[in-house]
């Protein structure tokens, strides 16, 4: 998958979990919890959706790499491999 495809998939899951967010307004460096207002339940729902979509385990130890859109795309690109 290209980074753009991953981005589109990620934003689809994100807006499913948080239907009140406008995907176009989510900046690369906005922090999900502090800037976008996702709470721990929203975040877990997002991680669950990504797990289901990509088949990745996403352990809790990796949560610190899923702080912003740019970081999450780096993480998913790396985990999904070339």
């Amino acid at each position: 998958m290209t980074r753009n495809e991953i981005r589109a998939a990620f934003l689809a899951d994100m807006t499913e979990v948080a239907p009140d967010l406008d995907p176009a307004a989510i900046g690369e460096t906005d922090r999900f919890q502090d800037d976008l207002g996702l709470d721990s339940m929203d975040f877990l729902n997002l991680v669950s959706a990504l797990h289901k979509r990509f088949g990745l385990p996403i352990p809790e130890a990796d949560y610190s790499r899923l702080v912003t859109l740019a970081m999450a795309l780096d993480y998913l690109e790396e985990a999904l491999g070339p």
């Binding site: 979990v17 948080a18 239907p19 919890q33 339940m41 929203d42 669950s48 289901k52 385990p57 996403i58």
Partner: protein, 394 residues
């Protein structure tokens, strides 16, 4: 024949707007089935019916704003004879207001077809059905003479189209919600003599158990500390049951056997709603977690049920991971207690005679002094502490 009326979804609610019917005349309904969606100050709420039977007539129209108690539909009793032989329903209770003459009801309009309207042949019934379901006749393949669109064609088209996506913005009027919160909180502080207690709890054991458990689970089955906190609060009510119940003005305080535990959910646009997990005491940690996930998701999408927003017997409010140390809440009337959890944080605590860095949370209780006393409240918080030191059982 029973009357299905606009329910009251809170002491401050005067009227609601019928947003959607989920049943049609002739449909069989069971007690507890969701039959309609009503827009209120708390967002769109799914309304359950209280009786079993067959829907005889939908009286209210989608888009109408109707006062609490107004007739919405008539439901025939199961096994009852022909509707006509059933005596008419008793007269409406006195004091029932006439429909509020608010804004003109907005009836569904068919979107303008892209071709000249005259070019589409359709039966009157098909036109009416299409308008009702917001279907453009130009998109429906007609099977009638000359390609005319018939009622059956419209029904087939509606059945084939994908389910309507959930409204992105869940019809929430923030000013209205603010007014609802103001009314409930003003009433609470005017009528309920609150007393407050707080206590610091060592969460390190619970956190270690949680991390070990979650490491063995896929994300969809992981637990959050919030679920452990709610479960401990619900279980602690066994010891101090008078904190679980309702106190309506002019009646005696009523304890509740069942624990319908409200969970405060803050909405990103501002505002707050505290839908209840019904029968929370019968749920283990996994079931409670699943119920909380579902409730939060539906609160965000504006799809809560009437029972969830009217039947709470106690509320738990948590600041989550990025808040401050403690929360002292205002009781949600007519409940008699609110449990507040601050943000868990690593703090210095004395363990075995020395200072240790431990994850800790401050729990508070706001309780109605007409119903309970500080000593009982203290017992409740101590019990929550004790339960959170137990090994984690999912």
């Amino acid at each position: 024949m029973t009357d299905f009326k606009m329910p009251s979804l809170g002491a401050d609610m005067e009227a609601g707007k019928l947003a959607q019917w989920l049943v049609a005349p002739g449909d069989k309904v069971a007690r507890g089935d969701v039959v309609a969606v009503v827009e209120t100050q708390k967002g769109a709420i799914e309304i359950e019916c209280f009786d079993a039977g067959e829907v005889a007539e939908l009286v209210a129209k989608v888009g109408q704003t109707l006062p609490v108690g107004a007739l919405l539909a008539r439901i025939g009793s199961p096994g009852a004879a022909e509707a006509g032989t059933v005596p008419p329903a008793a007269p409406a209770p006195t004091g029932q207001a006439a429909p509020i003459p608010g804004p003109e009801p907005v009836f569904a309009q068919a979107p303008q077809p892209s071709v000249e309207p005259g070019a589409i042949l359709a039966s009157p019934a098909a036109k009416a059905r299409a308008a009702e379901a917001r279907v453009a006749l130009s998109e429906v393949a007609g099977s009638g003479p000359g390609g005319a669109v018939l009622l059956a064609d419209v029904d087939r088209h509606i059945a084939a189209r994908p389910a309507a996506p959930p409204t992105a913005k869940p019809g929430l009027d923030m000013a209205e919600m603010r007014r609802a919160i103001a009314a409930a909180m003003t009433r609470s502080k005017r009528e309920i003599p609150h007393y407050y207690l707080s206590h610091e709890i060592d969460l390190q054991t619970a956190q270690d158990g949680l991390a070990a458990l979650n490491a063995t689970r896929t994300p969809d089955r992981r637990l959050l500390m919030g679920a452990l906190l709610v479960r401990a609060a619900v279980r602690a009510l066994d010891k101090v049951p008078e904190l679980n119940g309702r106190y309506e003005a002019g009646t005696a305080p009523a304890r509740s056997e069942a624990v319908h535990c409200g969970v405060a959910v803050s909405l990103r646009g501002g505002g707050l709603i505290a839908p209840a997990i019904l029968d929370a005491a019968t749920k283990d940690t996994d079931a409670l977690m699943a119920a909380m996930r579902d409730l939060v998701a539906r609160a965000r999408a504006g799809r809560l049920r009437m029972s969830e927003i009217t039947q709470g017997t106690i509320t738990v409010s948590s600041l989550g991971e990025s808040g401050v140390d403690a929360l002292f809440g205002v009781i949600f009337p007519p409940q008699v207690a609110l449990v507040g959890f601050g943000t868990p944080r690593v703090r210095p605590m004395i363990r075995d005679g020395g200072v240790a860095a431990r994850l800790a949370v401050t729990v508070s209780l706001a309780a109605d002094h007409r119903v309970s006393d500080g000593r009982r409240g203290a017992l409740f918080l101590a019990e929550i502490d004790r339960l959170l030191q137990e090994p984690l059982t999912p």
